[in-house]
């Protein structure tokens, strides 16, 4: 899919609001036809980066190149993008059809061509029967689709979406996720979507850019981000993660309390020397019940939380010197093993599920 040259290249981009640095030294490449999500907690700078790409709030330093052309200092009107805001910003006094036609009317095309394109777009987003209504007469999900149709009407090279689904309820959100992704696939339009919802990012994106406090933590496919987080921030932010503090006790051994864990060298992210403080991490769903050849510990159940298809148990073990650990068990297993508060059990931490980080980078 990837051609040699990226469609969008961001180099050493920094954005300051007065003394405050909202983005620092961001470098990123996005390829033609890709669906990229900017993911991060509130206030991390996702919107700021998107607005810099659109030219709405120009960066303080750094360059942006789109389709081989330096657009760093171009005003928004001279860039090539369509945008959907969280508020949708539909023109309230124009009908759906006029909203969608708004951009087409500026292309100096014959009227009939504009109208047929509008019909086509209305069909594309499934709102043909609503075309004469005003935005206020539509539901949130319908408004969102109008905004999307308006943004892609002039066939921009780049589609920017700022939390387009956050104003909708969960059901509609799930449905629209698929619709947007599907539409993007069909049109093949390079798309950047800002979101703070990891599920959204994991299900929709080809690649995810995890941002925290104005810097990029990791760029990768959803699988890479989930399975191989490069920083404790990413590990913690995406999905659930147990962190255990320990020290390095040998080539591939970590000591946590009295327990020595064997880990896989290849998964080490830390470069610490012997006896240095490290953190090991494992997801609750990766913890296995029952004895195994390695990394086996005795634990007792402190609390259980029912989460529908599975149960999250808070476990503790004297061997871990007071550090507790969360594990997910299927409802079945809980029943068959009769797990409840106070139960004793043996768990093991599979070697290939354990990751290690420097303790310094623990957030």
């Amino acid at each position: 899919m990837r051609s040699a040259d990226p469609y969008l290249r961001i180099q050493n981009l920094t954005k300051k609001f007065g003394e405050f640095t909202a983005l620092s030294d961001i470098s990123l490449e996005i390829f033609e036809g890709e669906f990229v999500c900017f993911l991060g907690p509130s206030g991390c700078g996702k919107t700021t980066l998107l607005r810099a790409i659109a030219g709405l709030d120009i960066q303080t330093f750094g360059e942006i190149e789109q389709n081989g052309k330096d657009i760093s200092s171009l005003p928004p009107a001279e860039r090539d993008f369509g945008i959907v805001f969280q508020s949708y910003a539909l023109f309230p006094n124009l009908t759906i059809q006029r909203n969608i036609a708004f951009g087409l009317e500026n292309l100096k095309k014959p009227k009939t061509e504009v109208e047929s394109r509008v019909v086509e777009l209305l069909e594309l987003v499934g709102l043909s029967d609503q075309k004469d209504k005003y935005p206020a007469q539509l539901s949130g999900g319908q408004q969102q689709r109008v905004a999307l149709a308006r943004a892609i009407a002039i066939s921009p090279g780049l589609l920017l979406l700022d939390e387009p689904l956050s104003a909708l309820d969960a059901k509609v959100r799930g449905k629209l996720r698929h619709e947007i992704k599907d539409l993007q696939n069909r049109l093949g339009i390079t798309t950047i979507m800002v979101t703070h919802d990891q599920e959204e990012a994991l299900t929709m994106a080809d690649r995810i850019v995890v941002i925290n406090e104005g810097i990029i933590e990791q760029v990768g496919t959803p699988q890479e981000i989930y399975n191989a987080p490069e920083t404790t921030f990413v590990a913690d932010f995406i999905g659930s993660m147990n962190f255990l503090s320990g020290v390095r006790a040998g080539e591939n051994r970590i000591e946590v309390g009295e327990q020595v864990f064997t880990i896989d060298n290849a998964l080490w992210k830390a470069d610490s020397e012997q006896n240095h403080d490290v953190v090991i991490a494992i997801r609750p769903e990766d913890i296995v019940v029952g004895a195994a050849s390695e990394n086996c510990i005795d634990a007792s159940v402190d609390s259980v939380e029912f989460l529908g298809p599975f149960v999250r148990a808070e476990l503790s073990s004297p061997a871990l010197s007071g550090q507790s650990i969360q594990a997910d068990f299927s409802a079945n297993r809980v029943r068959s093993e009769q797990l409840e508060v106070g139960s004793k059990l043996q768990i093991s931490l599979p070697v290939n599920s354990i990751r290690m980080f420097n303790r310094a980078s623990r957030v």
């Binding site: 330093f61 750094g62 910003a89 006094n93 005003y134």
Partner: protein, 571 residues
Amino acid sequence: MAIAESTNQVSTNWKEVKSRSSRDDRQMLVFMGIIACYLVVALAFPLYAILSKSFENNDGAFIGLANYIEYFKTPALTYSIQNSLFIASITTLIVVSVAFLFAYGLSRSCMRFKSGFRVIALVPILVPSLLPGIALVYLFGRQGMLKELLFGHDIYGPIGIIISEVFFTLPHALIIIMTALSIADARLYESAESLNSSKLRTFFTVTIPGARYGLISAAFVVFTLTITDFGAPKVIGGDFNVLATDIYKQVIGQQNFEMGAVVSMILLLPAGIAFFVDRIMQRKQVALLSARAVAFDPKPSRVFDWAMFGWASVVSVFILTILLTCQYAAIIKFYPYDLSFSLNNFDFDRMDGGGWTSFFNSLKLASWTAVVGTVIVFFGAYMVEKGRGFNAGRGVFQFLAMLPMAVPGLVLGLAYIFFFNDPDNPLNFLYHTMAILVISTITHFYTVAHLTAVTALKQMDKEFESVAASLKAPFYKTFMRVTVPVSLPAILDISIYLFVNAMTTVSAVVFLYGPHTALASVAVLNMDDAGDIAPAAAMGMMIFYANVTVKILHSLISKGILKRTQAWRYR
């Protein structure tokens, strides 16, 4: 990229990126520049002219502070400073208390007849400030109907001025305090109630602090309006001189323009200070506003509701008495000797003052001001709010737009004489024309109109322009197809505000009208001056009728337009 790593990276290019401007940006800048030029010519230059005049002698030679020294050596003149401060302070005290109680009743009680009280309280806006003075002459003058109530005091003087100013400024204070009270957060009251706090305690710990910026702001507005008003002291002031009447007397009576300029500068001081304090207060109020408050929903309480009803009635009776007295004066033959009904007083063509022509001139002035003013103000506000870049220029524009509020009408009018009547000025041909009256009136009332426009524009989704830019729509398309239709209610508000004020204003235009451009409000002044008090009252009522008619028309039209063009507002 780990955190430790990223901080070590050094960016190669530390040259700050500056946005290039688009064609839209440049076009908008040009329009903003044009309107800024208007403000410079119609405001900054004349103000400079009056300032420099105060340092010159009769022949136009620079004489430094000599005029000021002469001013302060003339006790007859300096007394006016005290007098003005006295009148303004007392009026402020009375009006803010009265208006606060009235507004409190309107927003916090379940009294009856609320909407009626609200309408009555806004009546004074529709008449010139000369009118209450005329009513007071009929009520408490030498042959007044209620003369005994004064126990021998003279209505001509501070008492009359203060009563007139209370009438004149009350609605302005009321509007500000109503806004302040209506944004108060209901949740505070609920929590106060659940803490079992007494009503009185809640009042002092929650209500007053919540409304404090509104109260202070109202106080400064009333103070400014009073100290700069010239209608009331002119009609009912008698020998009691204030700064505003001094300017008028120096210029019209003694043709001493330099001294007029000096008094103007002195009048600018308190008005200017009040203006800046008020701006600061307004800003804090806005900060309060943005916090998400829950609207307060009053619960009925017999005693409290009736007490508030009583107070609102007293205030309403006061306002209506003044208005109806003028109405009465206008339609009887010859007070107090012949009280039979007659329309003789409306036969303006038989009196000095401009006759019926002056009334039609006023209508013309008001219409032009409303149309041209609304276009200039709204366009200017749009350019300054929605344009990109050139922030320094934007700041200057904002300042110029706010400045008129700090400049008393008389000062502006006198400044126009100095600037436009200068034979060397290429704009000299404007002098004594309808055009200069329109320009001065638009400028005089620019600030409030501008703020209304800015508020409306700020309420619009700020991403409209971003979306339009991404769709490559030129700004004028977005402006005409979206901004104007969506802001139509505010645009209509601005035009009616300009119309009503153009009908009633005296201060700026009194120096500027010419033989063919006499105005109704000025006719009221001149007829009153000549002793034709009843015709003056009649003309004052004509202004009132015109304003009421236009207000009613305006609400009908705006309802019609809203129904037609704003179907989207209704689901």
